[in-house]
Every structure is written in structure tokens, then in C-alpha cells.
Symmetry: C2
């Protein structure tokens, strides 16, 4: 592995050039070869867990149990995306066979997926394993056949380096070109810009702030050859408390939401940051319970100083907006790196006028928006920006009675939750973790689940190729035994 | 239908507002309702053919047979995308069922597709039916559940208006909101900009020039909420003549390519504009035959004055570049709106230095690039921009002998043709009509074939919803009878 401390422009150019050269080889690897490589990384991480976790604890201030859990998730992702890659469903193979007697003759057309090329990954601060060096973006890029350059997150650069060493070992063990994976350091803005702007970069994965993701998006769009940026940039994850449900279970909902909004010191992209309900006695009960619940929470350390400072600033800024009233803070004040759990309330009429309150406050914060009626709840829903998730706390009757609120909430989100909290993102095929802008830069792709692989590939049709020269997945005999759409019918049969 | 002649800023705002309002209804339509609507448009076009075709002939200067054929293709697209929409495969439904005993409990997650919202379509000049008002973009947007606003192409605005009337009749007959489809006129740059920049616009379809598509892309990326632009912007469609094949059939290849490059007066986005081969006696034979073939072609009328002028200018500009030699023109000179078939040759060493020669010349033109050896052919392939298609004229031995040339050519294109010409784009599931930038603005999507529907939808996951409240395609009973991935297995079974 070639390592750079604070990489410069020449280093970046050389890195991306190497990535492009390695792609000529790795891009032609078989699905099975990629799966073996990814499983090797998973094994390496498992073996290195006891060495890496303490370093991650020191760098991220996250507790051991959480980090071991997250490392387990990272290993699961590598293994499950490897299996998905190998199973070949993501290739979405279609075959339309020739019809030589038609006028004009119909050609044989066969479509599969081809990797985009070198991918640059910017890891997140809040998931030092699962959305960092060997995390979801890296795993899905490898599965698609792309080479990867990771820029280490400065907040956990040692952890990142140790994970990179595990990947590097797997590259060697699998006999892949050295440039298949590269790891660079660099805290400056210019490093990100140069990586995204390099002509050899063909796609970008990012998890982090809106300002960071938007900058990458703009640089990528301004290139001579624009490239896709998959930036997951956060969300306020609105939770709508519908009237019948709220009346039936105000205290229960408050407890559930108090747990969700303070989980992991509120440092999840799916933390519920907005709670929207109709004012009245049920909401009063909800507020009273939430107040007590938040009072009891013990402040915990956040990821790093920058995050704590930003949390404090954004929290205080929101509290200072017109019409916003503090409901509750943790009784125990925050010290050092700790973030203080806080909830506040605002009238919908004030919320609708003030877009500052629509923005994410990353940390253990949530804002209740008290509406005059269901119509105003719908206006609030319509006023929101794109979200990773939206949740309805509702009875079936509530849903049937408020179709416009429900369809408006759905139109804003990538995952639509019924009677549940948004925190907790299952890694599975049916998961869509990606919402309308600005929660992500491309609502059509998920950063979680095996469909994340599709971000880094594009379709290619082969016309009239001899069977022996086709990629395996397109051959008549279907040697990979995968599902294929042949003349519009899904089948595993050979031709 | 609300009609605007030279729409202004207020008209555009109102149009997009109406589109957004109609989307609230049309976006919730069932697959079967959408299919019925599209088939009604297809029937209407069939019934109106004898009235519309003469107008299209007058406006486009295309011959009747071609236009009747193209109208047939347009009807086929509407019907086949309707069937594909109805069959629901494009929804790519995935279901992962709950596991309440797991720690933590696993939620029920079900993923389907949701339409993006109002789509603005800019039709092409070269396909007044198939890629215009009721063409591929409109059909796939309707299939996805999006409302559509078409800006008529000024070169065939009467044809466009007549087709719009057919769509409008179908909107009424199917009881859809008036704003489901709208048709506007306006020749200015500012109209396009305002349509793309309007906050209610959620995606854009475009077929035309690089400068037009790139402007739309830039405007869309600079919006407060960036939106996807699917611009198909043309291509030089390189054809590589590999040595063994060229030696075996130089004259046959020349005849085949002469036909392809002059078909429809070279006015196809898939016209072969570059022919790349190794210099030598076989290429001399090829050139001699091509010269004779092009001599014989009778010039025909191009679409409109602007296209003829641009063809003449770009052709002359290319001919004036250093090292370019004219091989052959049609014996009969061009008059009026006619475009004169022309082929020229240049050494690869000159071609590699001059990016002007890499650009598309829209019309009956092709440039032969004579390489010193196979290595230089690979350099030429590597130097090319993204293409809709690349073709290899090759024996199996040629392909095996030149793996780097083959993989380089593949990496540049969306459709990879073996021993065939690129003109002729089959409308079928396995077709990918979309290549790396700058041939399109998004290589991951096709503008031809039922997968074009996917451009206008995004995934949404439903978490823990009661069966009765789920969209049909996600319900336990699988009432639509579609293929679904349930717990990672593809099945049509109910749950």
C-alpha cells in the first residue's frame, strides 16, 4: 500500500492514475473473484478486531459495545454484498434473441452491468467502521468491479489506517493489482476537491454534512466530464403523530421517541429531529412525558470536538429563533465532549416561516412542531426538504382519514415508517437508505443494502457477439446459473 | 389542453404548478390505469396517422415511408412500455419480512418505486415522433407515474401540436387531471432555462445537441434542489476494423458502412462517424470501395435549414484540419436543404492531437483514422470521449488477440456491436441506449427500451406497514402477480 500523509496534488494525480491502471485488471475480474476478495477483507477485520476496536474507541469516543457491533455490521456488509455480487442479480441481465427472418432482421441484444471505474470514498465521522474505510461504499464499489481510493476521515485516521492495512493484505492475498485499493490522508478542502476533480475518478461516495456533500456534488458537476456523486448528507427525519394514535398512546410515543432521539448521543443520520402533531391535550401529555424522559438522560461524549461545538451552536441557534420554546434538557449538564439532550417546541405558523428550523441539528436534539389542525400538518409536511425517512405514528383509521398528509410525507422520504422510530437501518435487500435532495444527492440510489452496488455500475448491451466471447453472465448456457430476463420472461434456463 | 404560443415566465410557472397539482392524482394511479392511458394514446396516434404524417413530411422533410415507420415505432413504444409498466418488473419489488425474536427485532421492509414528479421533455428534431411529443421520454415518464410537460421542437411545432391533441384526448377519455400532460411552445433559450429551473420540475428528458443538453444539465445542477437530466447528446460511434477481418472483407465492410453512414442523410445519433483501422493494403481496398460507394449516393434533404448549415460548417471545419484528406463526396452536389455525403481520412498521429476531429458531425459524414499498428488503434480508442455505441468489425481471433483494444472500446460505449453497424436501435428490454458522457449526461440509464421507465422513479421502502395500507405490489397476497425478491429469493408466490 502506498501511503501519503497530507497528500499533495502530484500524489493525488499519481494515486488516481494507479487506480485507473488497476481498474483495467480489477474491472475484468469475475464475480467470484470479487466475492473472495471481499470475504477475505471481512475475515481480516474479524481477526484484527481486538487490535482495532481500542484505537477506534480512543479516536471516536464511542463505547466498545457499539464499536464491536458496528464492526460486526461492517463484516456482515462485506459478506452479504459479496454474496449478492456473486449471485449476479444486480447485473439485471436481459437477453433478447435474434430474429433473422424479420424485416429488418432483429439483432441479438444482451445487457449486463459494467463497473464505472475508480471510485473515491469519503468516510463518515459517525460510523468509523460501517461507513468508512471498509464500509458500505467501499464494499459496494468492490462488488461492482471498481477500484477504490479512500480518504481517511481526520477524526479517526489511525483506525482508518489499520482497516486499510487489512484491505491491503486482502489485495495481496488475492493477487490483485496494488492500485485496487489506496488510502490517503489529508484534512484540507483542496484534497477533496482534487480527488473529485481528477480525470481518472469516475464516481464518489460520501457520508457526512450537507456542506461537505454539496461541495463534492458541485465540483463533480463542474468537471469537463461530470461524474455521479452519492452523498448521504443527513436529514431531520420527521415523525408525524396522527390524532387517533396520539390520543391513544401519548406517553408511550414520548418514551419511544426519547429513546430514539438520544440513541448514540443523537449522532445518527436517521435521528428524529422533528416531531409534528396537532396541539391539544394529547400533545400536552406527550410533551410532559418527553420532558421527564429527556430530563433523565445522562449526557454522553460525542465523536469529536468539532461535532460538539457544532451541536451546541446549532442547538442554541434553533432555541433563539422566534417562537421556539425549550421544553426540556437533561438534568445533568454536559461537560467536555458531551452533548446535552434537548427538546423544544414551536408553533407550525412560526416553523413555516423559518427555514433555519427545517435544518438538521446533528446531536441529541428534537423540535416539536405544534399544528392547529391536520391541514396545517400537511402544510408542514409539504414545506419540508427531502428526507432519508419519514415516520407516521398512526392508527389505520388515521392513515385512511388523512390521505394527502400521508402522500405528502411519502413524497419527501426514502423510507416510510409506520409506528416505529427511524433510527436503526437494517442491512437488507429491501432497504432503501437514500431520500430526495438534500438528504442525498441522488434519490435513485441506496447507500445501504446490496442495491448499493448498482451505484457504481452502468448497463452495457452486447449486440450480435459470438457466445464464446460474451461475459459469462450473458452466455447461452447461463454458466453462473443466475436469473435472466430472456425475451421478456424471467428464467434461469439456458438458451 | 392549455396552449401557449411563445410561453412567458408566468406561463411557465403556472404550467409547472398545474403539473405538480396533477401529479398528486396521477402519481397515485395504478399500473393498469397508466397502461390504459398509454394504449389510448397509441390508438389515437394510429387513428390520426393519415392526418399527421403529411404535416410531419412538410415540417421535417423526411420521406413518408420513414415517418410512417417512425410513427409505428412510437405506437409500439407506447404499447410496449405500457405492458412493461403494467407487468411491474421495473418496480423491482423487494420484501424482507420481520423477525420479531431477533435481538434487536428485525422490521418488515418492503421496497418499490415511486415516481419523481413532473417531467419536462425536450423533443428531438431528427425523430419528430419517436423522440418527441409522444415519444420515448413521454411514454416512460407516463409509465413511471409522472406528469409531463413537452416543449415543442420549433422545427416541427405543428406536428407536435397535433400529437399533443391526441394525448390530450386520451387524458380526457381516461378521466385524468388536465395537467397530466401539457404542451408549450417557445423557441428561446430562456424558455428552456425557466422550465428546467422551475421548482416543480423534478426531471428532464432531452434528445439533441451537446450544447443544448449540457446547458440543461448545468441549469439543473445549479438549482437549489438539483434534479436529474437525461440528455442524449449524440456520439461519433467509432467502428474499429480489426486486421484479420479487414483483410478478409475490406470491400464488404466498406459497402456496409457506406450504407450506415448515409442512412437517413446521416441524421441518426448512432451514425458511424469514425472508422478506425491499421494502414495498409487492406485499408486501401476499403477506402477505394468506400469512395465508389459514397460517389454513388444521391444527396437528400436534411431536417431543416439550421441542420444543413451546421452540417456544412462542421464538415468543412473538419476537412480543413491539419492532416485531413477528402476521400470522396457524392458525385451529385447538394442543393437547397440537401446534405452531401462525404468521407475523409486522417493519420492517427494527427487525430490524437486534434480534439476537433473527435466531435460529432451530424449528417452523412465519416472520418477514417489510419493507425500505424494495433497499439495506436488502442491509443485512439483510449482518446475517445464516451459514446452511445462502439462497433468491432472482427474475427474471433481478432478479439482474442487484442484484449486491451476490446476492453478500451467497451469502456467508452453503452452498446458494443460485433460485426454490425450502429444505426438501427431495437426497442427491446435488453437495449441500452445511453453511453458515458458526453454521449449522455447519465450513463446509468437508457432512453430506449422499457428500462427507460426507471429514469423517472426512485425507490421507497415501507417499514412495518399493515398489509391493507401498502401499495398493491407490496401486499402479502401479491395481487398483481409480479416477480418479487422475498427474503432474497425471486418468486411470484404470496406471503
Amino acid at each position: 500500500m502506498i501511503m501519503y500523509k497530507d497528500i499533495d496534488a502530484t500524489g493525488i494525480r499519481d494515486t488516481m492514475e494507479r487506480s485507473s491502471e488497476a481498474f483495467i485488471i480489477y474491472g475484468e475480474s469475475t464475480l467470484t473473484e470479487r466475492a473472495a476478495f471481499m470475504k477475505r477483507i471481512a475475515q481480516g477485520l474479524q481477526a484484527a478486531a481486538d487490535t482495532i476496536v481500542p484505537v477506534a474507541m480512543r479516536e471516536s469516543h464511542l463505547p466498545e459495545a457499539r464499536l464491536r457491533n458496528e464492526l460486526g455490521r461492517t463484516i456482515f456488509q462485506l459478506n452479504s454484498y459479496a454474496d449478492a455480487a456473486d449471485a449476479g442479480r444486480w447485473l439485471e441481465v436481459s437477453i433478447d434473441t435474434a430474429d433473422p427472418v424479420r424485416t429488418p432482421p432483429k439483432a441479438d441484444i444482451r445487457k449486463t452491468m459494467s463497473p464505472l471505474g475508480p471510485v473515491v470514498v469519503f468516510g463518515s465521522s459517525n460510523f468509523p467502521f460501517a461507513y468508512s474505510t471498509a464500509g458500505g461504499d467501499t464494499a459496494s464499489a468492490f462488488a461492482a468491479g471498481c477500484t477504490v481510493v479512500v480518504k481517511a476521515h481526520p477524526a479517526h485516521s489511525e483506525t482508518s489506517t489499520m482497516v486499510a492495512a487489512v484491505i491491503d493484505e486482502a489485495v495481496k492475498a488475492c493477487g490483485l493489482p496494488e492500485g485496487t485499493f489506496q488510502h490517503v490522508h489529508g484534512a484540507s478542502f483542496e484534497v477533496g476537491r482534487a480527488l473529485v476533480s481528477d480525470k481518472n475518478t469516475k464516481a464518489v461516495g460520501f457520508t457526512g454534512s450537507f456542506s461537505g456533500g454539496k461541495a463534492l456534488f458541485d465540483w463533480a458537476a463542474q468537471r469537463e466530464e461530470p461524474i455521479p456523486v452519492f452523498a448521504e448528507m443527513g436529514s431531520t427525519n420527521p415523525v408525524f403523530l396522527l390524532p387517533e394514535k396520539l390520543a391513544a398512546d401519548a406517553a408511550g410515543l414520548a418514551k419511544q421517541l426519547a429513546g430514539s432521539l438520544t440513541l448514540g448521543v443523537g449522532q445518527f443520520c436517521t435521528k428524529p429531529g422533528l416531531i409534528i402533531a396537532i396541539a391539544g391535550s394529547s400533545l400536552d401529555t406527550f410533551v410532559d412525558t418527553l420532558k421527564m424522559e429527556i430530563n433523565k438522560v445522562v449526557p454522553a461524549e460525542m465523536l469529536h470536538e468539532g461535532i460538539v461545538r457544532a451541536y451546541g451552536e446549532k442547538r442554541n441557534k434553533a432555541l433563539a429563533r422566534s417562537g421556539v420554546t425549550l421544553i426540556s434538557e437533561s438534568e445533568q449538564p454536559a461537560q467536555g465532549l458531551q452533548g446535552r439532550p434537548t427538546v423544544a417546541i414551536v408553533k407550525a405558523s412560526d416553523f413555516l416561516k423559518d427555514t433555519v428550523l427545517h435544518q438538521e441539528v446533528f446531536g441529541p436534539w428534537s423540535l416539536i412542531v405544534a399544528c392547529a389542525d391536520a391541514e396545517e400538518m400537511t402544510l408542514v409536511a409539504a414545506s419540508l426538504e427531502g428526507q432519508l425517512t419519514a415516520s407516521l405514528m398512526a392508527t389505520e383509521g388515521d392513515v385512511r382519514e388523512h390521505p394527502l398528509l400521508v402522500s405528502t410525507a411519502k413524497s419527501k422520504c426514502g423510507r416510510f415508517i409506520y409506528n416505529g422510530v427511524p433510527t436503526g437501518v437494517e442491512v437488507c435487500q429491501a432497504m432503501h437508505h437514500g431520500g430526495p435532495y438534500p438528504s442525498t444527492t441522488d434519490s435513485r440510489y441506496s447507500s445501504v443494502g446490496a442495491d448499493a452496488i448498482k451505484r457504481f455500475a452502468r448497463p452495457v448491451s452486447y449486440q450480435n457477439w459470438p457466445d464464446a466471447l460474451l461475459p459469462e453472465e450473458l452466455r447461452n448456457a447461463n454458466p453462473l446459473g443466475i436469473w435472466r430476463t430472456v425475451n421478456n420472461e424471467l428464467t434461469k434456463a439456458s438458451l
